[in-house]
């Protein structure tokens, strides 16, 4: 169980921390000793256990330290950069920084990075990287530019993976973020674009990263207060290519998005992160530790004097600027266990820390009817779902395995078997991700849709309808039933893909135009000669009514998106018809109204298409109108509320017939014209031409 121990302040001396806080806190070669660089001119070496400084060095007046001091673990010396280009190296015995070794470099340094077991690296602002030794051999060597203009390095971290130094740095340019992974031994630099996902406007506030065997797990704290995770393969599949990385949500709303002060994030170990920031906009800042595996808040600590939004973590100590002084909070994490995570292991709670109550623990079941046993079980299931999801995501990030298809198939079958065995187990995100791999089909996992139907998971059903080529008609029809019957309020909560729906309400300005258009369409034939003059007149009596009816979409946008997925799906008429008969009459009328509405929208423009990215086609609309009427005509004709709709549809069909008969007539005339044209174009039966062969 992770716990924060009592904090202590390192020095009573007020550091000359600027508005941005400290430059950095770095480890030195002795455990317990840390180099603190303030944003002015001073570097202080602290011994944490004694809570007192061991040494302090300053640069001359007029000079300014631009890069936090680090310790070269191989020599025990300290390295710092001031005025962007001047490198200083000294050790404990030196007193005056002016007299120590100095090297002036040819380019500006972003940061010096040093970890145990390898020589320090110098990262320049232009993205180039050099080993310190190599740089000192020729300080004036030319430094190349790696990143583009206006691209700014935001964050960097240095790892040693299997004795190979790996450097990652994040750059930003016009709101886009890029990750560069430099394998220092092989000198391979891979560039990735970080895709921000749906919320394009979010700004990433803080980064942290931990390293696994194959991945760098890059966590980022966005301005929306959520923590996202991005998996970056250490050994890239194709270093030449610019690759994109998708982030996935790890923790929701851990800090308030619009906090005044900075927020910070740091990974403590594989399962824990520490977040600095205010949980609610108004509240004071606090430091909280989250378990990302189980998505639980482990502990938190209020920091009433405010922080600089910076957080460092070394060994077992968290460093931050609390008020004006540097505060150290020792952090301890026992091996986390399920029981511990759930709070069943007794542990002595520190009197100094108290759990802040205003965190909403989203794990707690909302419905109170569940007993304790149930909630525990559901929690356990949720945890394993989360775990599976992470594993699946890791697998999908690699992707290049040759048996990718079979593995995906096996995974889905396995998951579904468990779903069937344990009704409360439903790894939804995981299934969604698997469906989006484009390798699944209905016949591969028929249970998937069955379960989704049982759960009324419309989003998953929509995804299936879009991705699977071979859904049987009975299942399509079952989906349709759910899509029509699900309540508007429960629809609001779902997150369906709205690609196929165009915001029809925007078009309301053109309503009048559309009316004219339909008139023109009807003028394609002779209404006077029609037997249905009566109903025409009847309709003409209430033109306003009709306008209202035809221009406003009869279903909400989300339902429209779901219905469009049905319209796009493939079917065979014979197999679909019997199932359509099972749908309740009012749902049929609703669907018919929607189809009729779509038809009217279609006829607004000359190409007879709907606006939007992937709208249903006119043929699909017409086919479904016919199908629905074929299946349910006797029922619908008896319903008084469907009468107007039927009359409208009757008119529609009539106008279609006349248009087609006109088209057939035109086709014949066109064919004759074409024949004439051909004869004209024909170069005659005989000609003498020049041929040149090359």
């Amino acid at each position: 169980m992770a716990a924060l121990e009592e904090e202590f302040t390192l020095s009573s001396v007020v550091l000359s921390a600027g508005p941005e806080g400290l430059l950095g806190v770095e480890q030195s070669d002795k455990t317990d000793q840390f180099l603190v660089t303030d944003s002015g001119r001073t570097v202080i070496l602290y011994k944490v256990s004694d809570q007192k400084p061991l040494g302090s060095w300053s640069v001359k007046q007029g000079q300014i330290i631009t890069c936090p001091a680090v310790c070269n673990f191989q020599t025990g010396e300290y390295v710092v950069v001031h005025d962007n280009k001047v490198l200083r190296i000294w050790n404990n015995e030196d007193v005056n920084l002016d007299k120590v070794f100095k090297a002036t470099l040819s380019a500006e340094v972003y940061r010096i990075l040093s970890v145990q077991g390898t020589e320090p690296l110098v990262l320049f602002k232009e993205g180039a990287v050099r080993g310190l030794e190599a740089l000192l051999a020729d300080p004036q060597q030319k430094i190349e530019t790696v990143i583009s203009d206006e691209e700014v390095i935001k964050w960097t971290k240095f790892f040693v993976v299997f004795r190979h130094p790996v450097l990652i740095f994040i750059t930003e340019k016009h709101g886009n973020y890029f990750a560069y992974v430099q394998m220092f031994n092989s000198r391979i630099l891979t560039k990735y674009t970080l895709l921000l996902g749906q919320d394009e406007n979010s700004v990433i506030k803080s980064f942290t990263a931990s390293v696994d065997r194959k991945f760098i797990s890059l966590m980022s704290l966005s301005s929306d207060g959520c923590i996202y995770e991005t998996l970056i393969p250490i050994r890239p599949a194709d270093p030449e290519k610019n690759q994109s990385l998708v982030k996935s949500l790890l923790l929701k709303a851990v800090v308030s998005g619009n906090a005044r002060n900075g927020v910070a994030l740091t990974a403590l170990d594989q399962d824990h992160v520490a977040v600095l920031g205010s949980p609610l906009a108004a509240s004071k800042e606090c430091l909280s530790v989250w378990n990302i595996k189980f998505q639980t808040l482990q502990t938190s600590k209020e920091l009433p004097q405010g922080t600089s939004g910076q957080l460092w973590y070394y060994g077992e100590h968290l460093f931050m600027l609390h008020g004006k002084s540097l505060t150290v909070i020792p952090y301890k994490c026992e091996v986390s266990s399920l029981a511990g995570a759930l709070g069943k292991l007794k542990h002595s709670q520190d009197p100094g820390t108290h759990v802040v109550s205003h965190f909403v623990n989203w794990e707690t079941p909302q419905g109170c009817g569940l007993g304790f046993q149930n909630s525990e079980q559901s929690r356990r299931i949720k945890d394993s779902e989360k775990h599976i999801e992470v594993e699946v995501r890791k697998f999908l990030a690699l992707k290049q395995t040759p048996d990718f298809h079979t593995v995906i198939g096996d995974t889905v079958t396995g998951l579904l078997e468990r779903c069937k065995a344990e009704p409360s187990f439903y790894p939804r995100n995981c299934l969604m991700q698997l469906i989006q791999t484009h390798v699944l089909s209905y016949s591969l996992c028929p249970d998937l849709m069955e379960i989704a139907l049982k759960k009324k998971d419309v989003q998953l059903l929509q995804l299936c309808l879009q991705q699977f080529p071979d859904i049987p008609e009975s299942v399509t029809c079952a989906c349709l039933k759910i899509f029509l019957s699900i309540g508007d309020d429960s629809l609001q909560e779902t997150d369906v893909n709205m690609e196929s729906v165009f915001d029809y309400s925007i078009n309301s300005v053109h309503d009048e135009k559309m009316e004219e258009q339909t008139e023109i369409l009807q003028n394609g034939f002779n209404p006077e000669e029609d037997k249905c003059n009566n109903c025409d007149q009847e309709l003409n009596k209430k033109p306003q009514d009709e306008t209202k009816e035809s221009t406003s979409c009869p279903v909400v946008q989300k339902r429209a998106a779901l219905l469009n997925a049905i319209l796009h799906s493939a079917y065979s008429e014979t197999f679909l018809l019997p199932h359509l008969k099972d749908i309740p009459a009012q749902h049929i009328t609703l669907f018919l109204k929607y189809l009729y509405f779509l038809y009217l929208k279609c006829s607004e423009n000359a190409t007879m298409t709907l606006p939007g990215i992937h709208p249903p086609t006119l043929n699909q609309i017409m086919d479904w109108i016919c199908l629905l009427l074929d299946a349910n005509f006797t029922v619908v004709v008896m319903m008084p509320e469907a009468k107007r709709l039927l009359i409208n549809l009757y008119k529609l069909v009539k106008s279609q017939i006349s248009v087609y008969s006109e088209l057939n007539k035109i086709e014949v005339s066109f064919r004759e014209l074409q024949k004439l044209n051909q004869e004209k174009n024909n170069r005659g039966l005989y000609s003498i031409e020049v041929l040149e062969l090359f």
Partner: protein, 692 residues
Amino acid sequence: MGEFKVHRVRFFNYVPSGIRCVAYNNQSNRLAVSRTDGTVEIYNLSANYFQEKFFPGHESRATEALCWAEGQRLFSAGLNGEIMEYDLQALNIKYAMDAFGGPIWSMAASPSGSQLLVGCEDGSVKLFQITPDKIQFERNFDRQKSRILSLSWHPSGTHIAAGSIDYISVFDVKSGSAVHKMIVDRQYMGVSKRKCIVWGVAFLSDGTIISVDSAGKVQFWDSATGTLVKSHLIANADVQSIAVADQEDSFVVGTAEGTVFHFQLVPVTSNSSEKQWVRTKPFQHHTHDVRTVAHSPTALISGGTDTHLVFRPLMEKVEVKNYDAALRKITFPHRCLISCSKKRQLLLFQFAHHLELWRLGSTVATGKFLVSGKNGDTLPLSKNADHLLHLKTKGPENIICSCISPCGSWIAYSTVSRFFLYRLNYEHDNISLKRVSKMPAFLRSALQILFSEDSTKLFVASNQGALHIVQLSGGSFKHLHAFQPQSGTVEAMCLLAVSPDGNWLAASGTSAGVHVYNVKQLKLHCTVPAYNFPVTAMAIAPNTNNLVIAHSDQQVFEYSIPDKQYTDWSRTVQKQGFHHLWLQRDTPITHISFHPKRPMHILLHDAYMFCIIDKSLPLPNDKTLLYNPFPPTNESDVIRRRTAHAFKISKIYKPLLFMDLLDERTLVAVERPLDDIIAQLPPPIKKKKFGT
């Protein structure tokens, strides 16, 4: 490379006859095709689908049925009530035998191949025994009310199914009596049609009978109980043909709408043993009625009124994805129907029942204009082409072959029973025609006719295997010599080539090698080493007397007649191999000629390209571009010289039926656009485009 004035001729009003029947022979991988004019063609599917043999048609002999029996014997039956057997060696009809049942509508050979069954107009089904050299009537089955349109044997040979009008009968072969009579529903889309014609039946070994009928249905019947098992309505028009694969796991049907449907026997669910027939693939390669279909182990074959023969390979049966996996459409015959008189610029067109003689026009733009004229320019005509002569044959037989002499004063043609030779006289614009009478008896029927370059000799390949040389002088002729075929062979010669100096005559049969005769000494000079694939065209080059031979696998050989060996160039080509695109062409080379002033050039063409091979240039390898439709621009001379290769190809003229060199700078190309053929066919079933 070369600039030519091309007479582009599109007035050859040739329309192939529609296809009536196809019969596939599994043993030899050959396909027999009969057309509505009675012509029967044999395609060798192993030899790149080459049409290697043909039997000329006959006006009164409309073939309605075609089948292979006893291994590789081919029989046909037709509306004249006769059953015929074809001699595939001598290329003539062995015998015709009246079945005495009125017009014959259907025929089927027994699974063992020893018996033949015909269905007649009078409702009788007649069984014939196939003897080694003839067929013998055995007995009649129970007479039915109306004509028997389709027949199928049960694979065990014990029962047969016969499709008639409105019903299907099942006969017991031993007793000859009808066991079941299954009435076919006349209803068509809810409307009662007058009659329902069962166009085709197929009897499967499990007792299922599949029928196709004029109401657009494919129906499955149980022959044991005589009940309908399943019905598929697949067309708004007649379903006219059916063919089942030997394994009985798939069959194909053709409809009057031009659609071919593939049905397959597939398991109901995966890994279940229960199987059902499912309509799997529709193909629309025809515009008109698909009158007939066949099912080879790897392909669906269909033919019909639109005259195309279509091979649609089944992708699941094709092991290697080579060019055999591609769709093939054969429309034009693989032989030359056109001959040309270079001296008088005349073209002789051969039709089924008449010949047409045309004189090419001319242009004032000579010399200067030609030099300034760019590629593709049309030159102004000073004189249009003239139709000089329309020569109708006497009698019902189709013309087999025809030829006009290079001087333009002789025309010869032949039908199955008669050989005709005409002398033409030109007086200013008038032309007079005189038939040379008193043909000798041995000149009764010719498979190929050729005049020597100086028009003094006529070479005739008779269907007895003999080659005759006839001396022509003034208005008379004299028989000089006959090369008799080697003893024991009766194989007919179908291709002839004579050297421009008149000394050498090359003749090729359908399978044996090419023989070269010395015309001066009247003896066999040599035989070109045999090759696996049939010869599609050959010609002898002037001066060098090199014989150039094109085979159906697209190989071209050059054989030196004086040296009796292949030339160095030919050996080089064989060593390096042809360009892969050259080998993948799917129509054979039908004509080869030479340039009188450029001995290194060989001119040849197939239906889709015309090519000049320049032997002096390096051969293309598979990496070089074989055909570049665009003229080289802005390229330095060095690059042009480096990329130049021996094959100069033009694909401007297509479908190209004939191309020859008239003089050094003039070519004649005869095209037959497909649109013009379609325009002369009866209109197809009209399908609504809108509001279906």
